[in-house]
Amino acid sequence: MRLAAIATAAGAFSGLFGVGGGTIIVPLLVLWLGYGHREATGTSLAAIAVIGALAAAAHALYGNVDLWNGLLIAAPAIAGVLAGTALQQRISERAVAAAFVVLLLASAAVLVL
């Protein structure tokens, strides 16, 4: 039930603001389901992979996806995510939590400004 609520909230914010639900999924997994921060970010990525694939397919039907540009920017991003996940294993859960709090504050500031 709580997973379904998290899914609905994440989807709603994606529909509203056009960006993925990571900033919703990670906090709710931690606060509602008692996930550790590393587990929450890993599980959030799995959810985003599914959400992203569904949304990309829908946009592709309307012909708005530039596959070449998508792959071009994905190449360095894949290198980045390998580095990011490796780095995350070497810092404390507390540091991951602190970085996430900074992300939330920055995101809220961008929305207000």
């Binding site: 899914a7 709603a12 990670v26 990309a56 360095p76 990011g84 602190a98 939330l104 809220a108």
Partner: protein, 121 residues
Amino acid sequence: MDLVGLLALGFAAGMAGGLLGVGGGVLFVPALVVFAHESQLEAVATSLVAITLVAAVGAWRQAGYGNLRVRDGVLIGVVSPLGVLAGVVLANAVPERALELSFAAVQLGFAWQLAGNAGLR
């Protein structure tokens, strides 16, 4: 096209994704608008290709590190389109500024609670 800008922001987006469990759309979309001259709509659509690949690779690595609950993650992913519908209905019913301010308030609330949860305050 500014290839260097595209590659640099792409790497940063992937890094943020791996570290924080987000898709990186916040960086991919402006990068595609500014450096690949896509429209906002095209950039959102194109960014989803990169987001999907980054999230899939990140989830696979996190599974290797023992940080993935596959069942929960897939369930959230599969159910979320219902929320997208709700979001689209809401976006057409409520003024945009009110939505932005409420989402910002939700994020500040999460920041406060997570900071408490991790003993940061």
